[in-house]
Subunit: 128 residues, 3 copies
């Protein structure tokens, strides 16, 4: 999958899951981000503290596609760096392709997996 | 493979290799680390200078599973970032899963490979 | 593919593509870099601003092998960290293996793909 300037990566992945009914998949990617939003999970607030960066090279994106309550659930982490090459990273909340492209490799597996919310840790966990 | 809070990633990978007799595999992973220990190799001392970080998102883990003198030999590098999203990385010496999980993808190949110590460079190298 | 001290990663990948006529492939890698050169694309100058680092652990390399005007076109991004574990990353311009090795996994696909220069964005984009 090659995404282009202005494309919303999460939206494209979710649409792909719905359109082709992917049971589960792992994803890898790299490319140029117009904007990339990371979030660090605050277990007290049970929400992510976000931070957004602009015009960064995505040096590595790793994630998985699964389902949660019948809806596509994309889970991805990434590392990215800007003009000074200093790297930032974390849990990915959003990613819009910048000038150029983002190349994604999607490896589909045939078993359908669900993410389930686990009360005690306050997070969604993939059930094997 | 989905590892959960408190799991020792190296221990689980080594057990998997022994239990299922994996000849060789590549691994990829991401998730949340309770503690992650990197080491930078000092060729004079022929040992790793370690540094440990707590509560970091693992933004990318890449490695290989092979054998050395009949025992499982896990070799992995990783990048991780904490609350401020600044990324750190290196050769992985240890990794304990934090709140949430670490998802690992293991791709098994059928040829058995060995790591061998090479005196001149003072490091183990995978023999193809 | 296991590359060793002094090996030029791009040269080896291009030779592999030509020798075995790989239509397209994705690559992943990690290991120790003697020297690693990143570039951040300057859209005004239409060229990369380079920066070189020495003796870094490559914590993750992701890329793709395709063709452009009949010649191998390697496109890769990487993250790397030195003795202080601080991570740097970006678009990869060059990579020479350091003491030890760099392990690469190459996944070959059977469809031949080309990169094409796109005038409006000033960059090469992989055509699916």
């Amino acid at each position: 999958m090659v995404l282009r300037q202005g494309d919303d990566v999460f939206q494209h992945l979710e649409r792909l899951m719905t359109d082709t009914n992917i049971p589960i998949a792992t994803i890898r990617g790299f490319g140029f981000a117009g904007s990339i939003r990371f979030g660090f999970f605050d277990f007290d607030r049970r929400d992510y503290e976000p931070r957004e960066f602009s015009d960064m090279e995505v040096t590595g994106l790793t994630g998985s596609l699964a389902w949660k309550d019948g809806k596509p659930a994309v889970h991805a982490h990434a590392t990215a760096a800007g003009r000074d090459f200093q790297a930032f990273g974390g849990h990915l909340l959003g990613l819009i392709v910048g000038r150029g492209s983002i190349e994604m490799t999607i490896t589909v597996y045939h078993q359908r997996l669900e993410r389930c919310y686990e009360e005690d840790i306050g997070a969604n966990v993939l059930r094997l």
